[in-house]
């Protein structure tokens, strides 16, 4: 057996590596080491940040082998993602493709295939980056995060989970066990039942909702979608992203609208003012423009290497417009210049 000097290895000054074989064992380790222990699933954030010298954990707690930790299942009322479920697991799930196109699309372009095979929804949530692509999808659908510790279990709304970049409500001894989304918000979605459109989904625009059949729109229907801008499709951090969810009570009457924006503030930002504009009303092209302007009140993007604040503001409004126009069955008028949207 050869023994190499430490210079052989990219220095990860970690003192111990514990691969948990059960959630109970993981919670013990977490309780013992607290903030010095970093949970690990795919490592696609952890190793990048360690290499950049931003994180230096003393103990690595590997969760990736805990039986059932990556399962995706349904209860009577919820779609339940084990925190270890990867983007690839979501893409292989038929229910997600048909009923949760937002999540499917965000996973289809999360990094590249290798990153999708490794990166987990729990890791995306815990990293608490405003650019985490699956996070707005969970928040727009009013999902929750289930946290476990030796002390017990609690559920927090996904919207309240992140406080600012890399800061969450999770305590030092807690782990994300599950991410849940109410099934009531995932009723059959006209968008998802288009296997061809979903194969290699376009990110910068909506999956066009198919026209309603001869019977017209059902009395009550809902849909969700995800849009993302990046310098290329794969392997890029979003410049801006948006997950949209709408519940309708008629062909054009909005009951509930949830718009969740990524990279538009210190955490996922909710377009609450836009919701207030359209809820209880029938969508018209004028009303959509009013909602699109209202989006601007709820976002606080900063200028950075990926784009100026003005550019990001423009994208947020354009995405809200595309989503609402498609929901209402209006012609997609495409994107507008910043000067028109922000006036």
């Amino acid at each position: 057996m050869t023994s190499h000097s430490v210079e052989t290895y990219v220095a990860n000054p970690v003192e111990d590596f514990i691969r948990a074989e059960s959630i109970e064992q993981a919670l013990e380790v977490r309780a013992k080491f607290g903030s010095e222990c970093y949970p690990l699933v795919g490592g696609t954030d952890l190793l990048v940040l360690m290499r950049a010298g931003r994180w230096s954990p003393r103990v690595i707690l590997d969760l990736s082998r805990i039986p059932g930790f990556a399962d995706i299942r349904q209860t009577d009322s919820e779609l339940v993602f084990g925190a270890g479920a990867t983007a690839a697991d979501c893409l292989a799930n038929e229910f997600i493709r048909t009923n949760f196109p937002a999540m499917y699309k965000s996973c289809a372009w999360l990094g590249g295939p290798q990153i999708q095979n490794a990166g987990s929804l729990g890791g995306n949530m815990a990293t608490a980056s405003p650019a985490g692509d699956t996070v707005p999808c969970v928040i727009a659908l009013e999902g929750t995060v289930v946290l476990k510790s030796k002390r017990g279990e609690r559920t927090v709304s996904a919207e309240e989970f992140a406080i600012r970049p890399r800061k969450t409500v999770m305590e030092e001894d807690e782990l994300i066990a599950e991410i849940r989304v109410p099934l009531a918000n995932l009723a059959s979605d006209p968008r998802g039942f288009q296997p061809d459109a979903m194969k290699v989904p376009k990110l910068h625009t909506v999956v066009p909702r198919p026209p309603f059949g001869s019977g017209g729109a059902p009395d009550s229907w809902m849909t969700n979608d995800f849009l993302k801008a990046g310098p290329r499709l794969a392997q890029v951090i979003s410049i801006v992203s948006m997950a949209g969810f709408v519940e309708m009570s008629g062909p054009r009457t909005v009951k509930r609208l949830r718009l969740a924006f990524g990279c538009a503030g210190p955490k996922t930002m909710m377009g609450k003012s836009a919701s207030a504009v359209v809820e209880g009303k029938e969508l018209t092209e004028e009303l959509i423009e009013e909602a699109v302007r209202a989006v601007q009140q709820d976002i606080t993007p900063l200028s950075d290497v990926r784009g100026t604040a003005e550019y990001k503001r423009m994208l947020c409004s354009n995405y809200a417009r595309l989503f609402l126009q498609d929901v209402g069955g209006f012609k997609l008028t495409g994107t507008r210049k910043a000067s028109e949207t922000l006036a």
Partner: protein, 173 residues
């Protein structure tokens, strides 16, 4: 088990099975799978391009899936099976169809991206044996090549898909 000297001298025993061969070694608890494959197992086919998950040169197959070994801890895979590029060809006389057809298409220039590209392509064809051009692009989006311009690589993947489908059909007859 944990040796409590200075952090850097800590070693932890590890048993890997790489391409069917067993390796009983002892490496730092923070060691990346990439370094262990190259330095401890002597399998230098797996390359490090970027070290941060962007280029795919370090792609290996673990738990039946292609992943970037620069973003994996070796100790995650204690007692597990790993396939690296050295395990792709069935034996020394016969290359994998992807390898054959890549040579035939002239899809290899400097070669640095190729081990990862092949592992990525294998992952793609296993999931989707008959990919469209768009699906090949998406399926290899995690592998960067700075030489070839991709056209000949994609051609090799298309052709290999066909060969593998024919083989599969032959096996089913």
């Amino acid at each position: 088990m944990l040796m409590k000297n200075t952090v850097n001298e800590t070693r932890k025993p590890l048993h890997l099975r790489v391409n069917g061969k067993s390796y009983q070694i002892s490496v730092p608890p923070g060691a990346r799978l990439l370094d262990v494959l190259r330095e401890d197992c002597g399998l230098t086919g797996t390359k490090e391009g970027c070290g941060v998950g962007e280029c795919g040169a370090c792609t290996v197959e673990v738990r039946g899936r292609a992943m970037c070994s620069c973003l994996l801890f070796a100790h995650s895979f204690d007692d597990e099976e790993i396939t690296s590029i050295e395990g792709m060809a069935p034996d020394i006389q016969h290359l994998h169809p992807l390898q054959e057809l890549l040579i035939e298409a002239g899809g290899c220039q400097c070669g640095f991206c190729i081990p990862g590209m092949l592992m990525g392509a294998k992952n793609l064809l296993e999931k989707n044996p008959d990919p469209t051009d768009e699906e090949i692009q998406a399926g290899l989006a995690g592998n960067l090549c700075r030489c070839t311009g991709y056209a000949k690589i994609f051609e090799a993947v298309r052709n290999a898909g066909k060969v593998l489908r024919d083989e599969q059909q032959g096996a089913n007859v």
